[in-house]
Amino acid sequence: MAKHPYKSLPEHCFWRDSVAKPLPAGVDPVVRAKFTITPTDKVVTAGSCFAQHIARRLQREGFNYFVSEAAHPLFSPALAAEYGYGVFSARYGNIYTSRQLVQTLQRAYGLFTPREQFWLNPDGRIIDPFRPQIQPNGFPSMAEFEADRFQHFAAIRRLVEECDVFVFTLGLTEGWFSREDGAAYPLCPGVAGGTFDSNKYKFLNLDVGEVISDLRWAFHFLWSKNPKARAVLTVSPVPLAATAIDQSVIVSTTYSKSVLRVAADEIARQYNNVAYFPSYEIIAGSFNRGAYFAQDLRSVTEAGVSHVMQLFMKYYGAKPEQAAAPNGAPQNTDVALQRLVQQQSEEIQAAAQVICDEEILAQRG
């Protein structure tokens, strides 16, 4: 029998054995990890809406999920989420494009100041063009908007400088930009604030060279501030909700995901400390026959997220010998503080209540 290179290839190289034959839940396109994440490694997330699933599961799976802009422990998780806390490691909202990632870092470090700093709604509310949905109806005053942004940028700087692993999910290539200075908006102006004006804003569909260039800049900047940081790149499997190009949204989605996938591969091959994790393939792969998309054929089901995270844990999670941190599990200081603050609040309330109950009887002229 003739010899050829395929003879010696492992099972995962063959479609029939690794994709068609196993049950969908058993399909494993990861194969190997460039590095593992220990329980003490600070993991941060950013990216498109699929990254929210990753962020949520990382917290649940026991990773040391690093949040540099957390809600105050006084607030319930539900209320905090309404105000954009806990969704990602900082309160930046969805970062859909590579250009947004670059500019978010630049803005946090004072390297780029967009000419258009805010949108003023007719009702006087202030909208942050770069995170227009970070809190309901924007900011009630310019003072709060500016102070909050100052605090937000400090939180970004902290996570850049302290993280061990940066997980970034690439979402889109299509985006809207300022004609004046190229500022990249997460949403088309006019959708969640601002007013659309074709003289001020332009549509761009980033090509693969632009995305690669953006990612190179972002990682070099990250390493200039934090040389030890490693990164995991993923591509969101969520199709475009709409395309600004006059063609089928399916065609636009394929272009966008292809560009992002190629760019992620290029970067992961170029840098040893950047890995590509195939969440796109797990969710969008034909092996699951669409089972990982909900009825709208866009939203990712919990089963799909579970498949992704199970493989993430398998390859990137701590091995048994690494599982125990020097002093046991990493201390979640936020949870501990939250308990203390809640206890404090209850104590002061109780004290005030006692006084109120007695007041009518106790007070004398």
């Binding site: 209320l79 009630p140 709060e144 909050d148 603050v341 404090q344 002061i348 005030a352 109950d357 007070q363």
Partner: protein, 281 residues
């Protein structure tokens, strides 16, 4: 300025509220309901009665103090549930009293809960209408409306009580705000506060002011939503910075004294028209 305000709010009152056509000897009947800040008004009214200077008759109901209604408010599945025996009791009281006015002191300690002692994680927020108000250094900035959402939960009993009252009487309802906050506590010796302060330290005074203003906004919104009148805080009671003047300090760090209660009675006099009636009598 206060007169202008009161004239304005009186515009909306039905004529019967001014007791036109009634006997000059008849004093208006006021049904007071509320929480601990009602005490200052109640005791001031007692002073007036003692010296026969009262311009209206007043009975007072403080549901949280009544053993029969404890706990007056409890959280069930995250929502407030009120004592089921209270509403029938309130109905009976209103039927017996047939008040001409209802006076509510329904704002309790909401503004003090988070602004008395230092928080383990220092925080601050910016009042939209007073953006230049002092900021607390190195404190975590919390979105104003996020804080408002948190504090609004504590005001749900105001909705409950106003709904209950409005279903039982057509008498005009007049609300009073809680007294302005105190800038410092050193003038007050309160063992319960001392224990808290020893443990956590005293919160920045500006935080007490901001919480008071936040609560005032919520209370005002409640008043508008229920179509009732909210008295302004008596202007004599606070300094320019918004803190309560020492002459109105009560026996603890929460409450005002009888002198403050008298200021509120004077506001009521103007609305009810009792002063004029008294003079006629």
């Amino acid at each position: 300025m206060l007169d202008a305000y009161l004239n304005e709010v009186m515009k909306g009152l039905p004529l019967v509220s001014k007791f036109t056509g009634q006997s000059p000897m008849r004093r208006p009947k006021v049904f007071g309901i509320g929480f601990s800040h009602l005490a200052a008004v109640f005791h001031a009214q007692n002073h007036r009665v003692h010296y026969a200077r009262h311009t209206f008759d007043m009975t007072v109901l403080t549901p949280e103090q009544d053993e029969r209604f404890r706990p007056f408010e409890s959280l069930v599945d995250g929502r407030p549930k009120f004592h089921e025996d209270f509403q029938p009791y309130l109905a009976e009281q209103i039927a017996n009293q047939e008040p001409d006015f209802v006076f509510g002191s329904l704002w309790g300690n909401q503004n003090f809960v988070l602004s008395t002692t230092k928080n383990l994680r220092s925080f601050d927020f910016i009042l939209p209408n007073e953006p230049a108000c002092e900021r607390i250094a190195d404190a975590q900035l919390i979105p104003f409306e996020m804080m408002k959402a948190l504090i609004t939960v504590y005001f749900q009993k105001v909705d409950f009580l106003l709904q209950g009252l409005k279903s039982l009487t057509k008498a005009p309802i007049i609300l009073a705000p809680a007294p302005p906050p105190m800038e410092e506590f050193s003038a007050i010796s309160d063992p319960r506060l001392n224990a808290q302060v020893e443990q956590f330290g005293i919160a920045d005074p500006v935080l007490r002011y901001k919480f008071w203003k936040l609560c005032e906004e919520i209370y005002q919104e409640k008043a508008v939503a229920h179509g009732v009148t909210l008295l302004p805080v008596p202007p004599e009671s606070h300094a320019a910075e918004g803190f309560r003047r020492p002459e109105y300090f009560g026996p603890d760090w929460l409450h005002a004294n009888v002198a403050y209660g008298e200021l509120v009675l004077k506001q009521l006099d103007q609305i009810i028209g009792g002063t004029r009636q008294s003079e006629v009598a």
